[in-house]
Symmetry: none
Subunit: 269 residues, 2 copies
Amino acid sequence: MPELPEIVVISQQMDNTLKGKTVASVSIFQPKMLNRPVSEFMALLPQKTVVSVRPLGKWILLQCTEKFRLLINLGMGGEILYFEKENFPPDIRAIVKFAEGSGFFITLWWFGYFHLVGPNESHPMTDILGPDPLELSETDFFRVLEKRKGQIKSFLLNQKNIRGIGNYYIQEILYRARLHPLRPIPTLSGGERKRLYQAIQAVLREAIDLGGSDYEKNFWGKSGKFGLSQMPIAYRENAICPCCGTKIEKIATGSTSQFICPTCQVWKE
Amino acid sequence: MPELPEIVVISQQMDNTLKGKTVASVSIFQPKMLNRPVSEFMALLPQKTVVSVRPLGKWILLQCTEKFRLLINLGMGGEILYFEKENFPPDIRAIVKFAEGSGFFITLWWFGYFHLVGPNESHPMTDILGPDPLELSETDFFRVLEKRKGQIKSFLLNQKNIRGIGNYYIQEILYRARLHPLRPIPTLSGGERKRLYQAIQAVLREAIDLGGSDYEKNFWGKSGKFGLSQMPIAYRENAICPCCGTKIEKIATGSTSQFICPTCQVWKE
DNA sequence: GACAAGAACACGGA
DNA sequence: CTCCGTGTTCTTGT
């Protein structure tokens, strides 16, 4: 599933490529990913022109003319790919074609959303997203942590608190901050909160600079370069921690699981 | 805090004593225990006559003429006491006087409610109470346990499930049923559910027969006789279990605590 | 555990 | 955590 870094990269590529292009046609092969009937998509989307493309947590926002917005969430295992010639894979879910012949299509492994929002319409799923972590000052980060009682990992994964972090980057973030994922927020010291903020900034920016994860594809179908060497712990059960040599463990963290170094990411009360 | 047995005893005494008496005046010394302005109490309550007094979980319901209801909850450490001559203690919160000179007053240690509900008005706090455990058949008890996932103690203490059981009687109930308070409901066998039902019936009826707890006062200011000999475990840390000789332990059960025999009330999955 | 309100958590569904 | 809705449990305040 693409997280903030992949969405930032893709949005930038889409912004560069699609800005000013006018939708000629739209094809939908999976109506349940939509927020309105297929017929309305067919009626409303064509003739709108792309004004800009911006990341919104794990969502991609295409701002269009007449105050229409196209909001795309790739869910798990989804891809959004540019095309100039029509040559589509078999599991395609939606196609948007522009007037001059190019366009993009979407594939999904399981769930995903393809939402068209008109002027004066609200969009509950994105309206409740928290701030972009890369636009958040350390002071504001400290402020959102205040009075929260839950576990630090589930807090960071909840898109209402901070948008864009998923179960992939959280592993490296918590490892670099040397924090156990189940630590209750009130037990975090000022120094730990500072480390956490720095780790979020560092991991996400580094991943963006490297074009995103090496197992996610960008708008051109190319993989990023953020991989093994940047993520020594994640998905490596029984490997050893490069910092202390301890064997990496896989633990359950709510509905997700996580790889940790039991020495570096030790639990403190 | 008075629980079901004390409320049953007090309600019976109030029913016998106050039925047919007409309110002459009401005095309020703590407005926050009310559900409406003091002025409305003064205007509405006088001239109403008591039709009946009934227990409602931990609440006392005075049914009055013109479909008015007086609902009293003594909270923690509260008392409701009859008087014939005016001779009040210092920490008094409310007084109701009847036409012929007698009346009752309320003292509270911490919280409590003194609510007047008119005809056609609802009362959210008592509307959501579960069934009276002594009016519940074994079949219905089994039915309310179905599909519940939580711990058995917090289920029984939640007044929405069953009304009137508090942290005093629950200790003897769970000891007699030989159940650990933190057992998840789905792990309870049919036999254990049956034991639990029987223990609830036995403990509550025995306590009513003895006039309630020996450290709570009734409408005449007299204590009940349900005490030490009926409660061998509760509030006796390091005492020994009369059944097996094991040392009694005090454990935390959510926000309350409880005394258990670790041998008799053993945890089973 | 008296109760309310809100947060956190668990689960099932799409 | 992809996100939602529902329901339940836990926390905090009065």
